[in-house]
């Protein structure tokens, strides 16, 4: 029992994921700054932001709307992210094997943060938050099918294995899945999916700074907003880790941990570069991008997989 709690709360759970995610968030901001020829924030900046929001700032509750749901939503987001991270990282670090079908559980837990943002923003009763929530819903409907197809393709490639442990083992026995044509296509689709899941440009229309003034997060202040930031830090760490587990070989023995870090950094670097070189899409464009083009890409990958490419 105690060991489960330790896993959930310390390593590889909440504390470790928050620290790693915070550092990745700094990496993201620093790269953004370098792309724009700026100097960028200091190393511990994400932690300053988090502790300022948590310890210093006041919480303002909406006058109308459901306060209980408003406050519950950020906690739910952190819980979903941490739980999903736990199921991803335990097999990835070879600590525990996971169970049959855990990949489906991970898939659903990864949607929990987005859903709780929607619930929380609708509970605040702010019209701009409602517009943001409706955009987030449309975005989820668009990218979720693509993400599911990517997972399905990976399951197919691994020979009908439904748990992360055997998927990683199948790659380590043979070649990493990204080493084939279909694997590259799947990687591209998965990259855009996590871009949308993280809510980064070009898929940041739910929080659109310019026209919605932070959209779904507009009413959050103080500790609840700190929880939302925490969920975002954790997602920034576990989503690349999930791709590494699905397509890029996981962690091998020996110098594997170094390679693992490099792979995660490379994925975050790609995500950051995409977000710095693209403008925000309209929600209709994002829908057709995922529903038509990305789905087509993944279906091609699945067909190629069937032919063993």
């Amino acid at each position: 029992m105690a060991v489960y709690l330790f896993w959930f709360l310390v390593f590889p759970g909440l504390l470790f994921m928050a620290a790693a995610g915070g550092l990745l968030s700094w990496f993201d901001r620093k790269i953004t700054a370098r792309v724009q020829f700026r100097k960028g924030p200091p190393l511990l900046q994400p932690f300053y932001d988090f502790f300022k929001l948590l310890l210093v700032k006041e919480t303002i509750l909406p006058a109308q709307g459901s306060r209980f749901v408003f406050l519950l939503a950020p906690l739910l987001a952190v819980f979903g992210a941490a739980m999903a991270g736990l199921f991803i990282l335990l097999p990835l670090f070879n600590i525990e094997t996971g169970f049959r079908g855990d990949i489906i559980v991970i898939f659903y837990l990864l949607t929990l943060p987005s859903f709780s943002y929607i619930i929380g923003s609708l509970a605040s009763g702010n019209p701009l938050a409602a517009v943001g929530a409706s955009r987030e819903m449309k975005l989820i409907i668009s990218y979720e099918l693509t993400f599911l197809l990517v997972v399905a393709a990976v399951i197919m490639k691994s020979g009908q294995k439904f748990d992360l442990e055997s998927i990683i083992a199948a790659q380590q026995a043979g070649t990493p899945f990204i080493g084939s044509i279909s694997g590259v296509l799947l990687f591209i689709a998965a990259l855009f999916c996590i871009q949308a899941k993280l809510g980064l440009v070009p898929f940041d229309m739910p929080e659109a700074e310019a026209e919605l003034a932070s959209g779904i997060y507009i009413e959050y202040s103080g500790p609840p907003y700190a929880m939302i930031r925490l969920a975002k830090y954790i997602m920034l760490f576990i989503l690349p880790a999930f791709i590494v587990a699905l397509l890029m070989n996981g962690m091998t023995d020996g110098t594997g941990i170094l390679w693992l870090i490099l792979k995660i950094l490379a994925i975050v670097l790609l995500v950051t570069l995409i977000r710095n070189t693209n403008p925000r899409l309209k929600i209709r464009q994002a829908s057709s991008f995922f529903l038509i083009w990305m789905n087509l890409l993944v279906v091609i990958a699945i067909v190629l997989t069937a032919f063993g490419l």
Binding site: F37, R38, Y48, Y220, Y225
Partner: protein
């Protein structure tokens, strides 16, 4: 200086309120965030919602209509909140002080923590003001 205050000073998020300004001050404020001056190295970010703000930047002359909006913003912001008046207009009223619609200056409406004079102040002056503010007791 305790841990809380240290974090607060290291991460000031700025919300920009432009009153009836001539738009010069606004441009100089945006200039602070550009590559040349880069306020993000002090952890300063421009945020879109007053609920996330730690600093309220006010510039331009405050006329009778702006006054209600400014008060509303100040009341809606989570405390602790620092208020900075930028430009001659924000500090004293500047060339609009005698105007018919003038309802300011800012410190007659809400408490102000720092004044940055100039018409418009240079970005360097704004940065110097904000860095001093970050060093002040919050």
């Amino acid at each position: 200086m305790g841990f809380k205050e240290f974090c607060f000073r290291k991460s000031l998020w700025v919300f920009h309120f432009g009153g009836a300004s001539c738009n010069n001050c606004d441009i100089e404020i945006i200039d602070c965030l550009t590559p040349r001056h880069d306020l993000e190295r002090f952890g300063i970010l421009l945020v879109g919602s007053i609920r996330h703000a730690d600093v309220l930047l006010v510039n331009g002359s405050i006329n009778r209509r702006d006054k209600d909006r400014l008060l509303e913003l100040y009341n809606q912001a989570p405390k602790p909140l620092l208020v900075v008046a930028i430009g001659a207009c924000g500090c004293t009223g500047g060339i609009f002080a005698e105007g018919n619609t003038f309802a300011g200056p800012v410190d007659k409406i809400i408490p102000v923590d720092a004044y940055i004079p100039g018409c418009p102040p240079k970005p360097e002056a704004i940065i110097a003001g904000i860095v001093k503010l970050a060093g002040k007791k919050g």
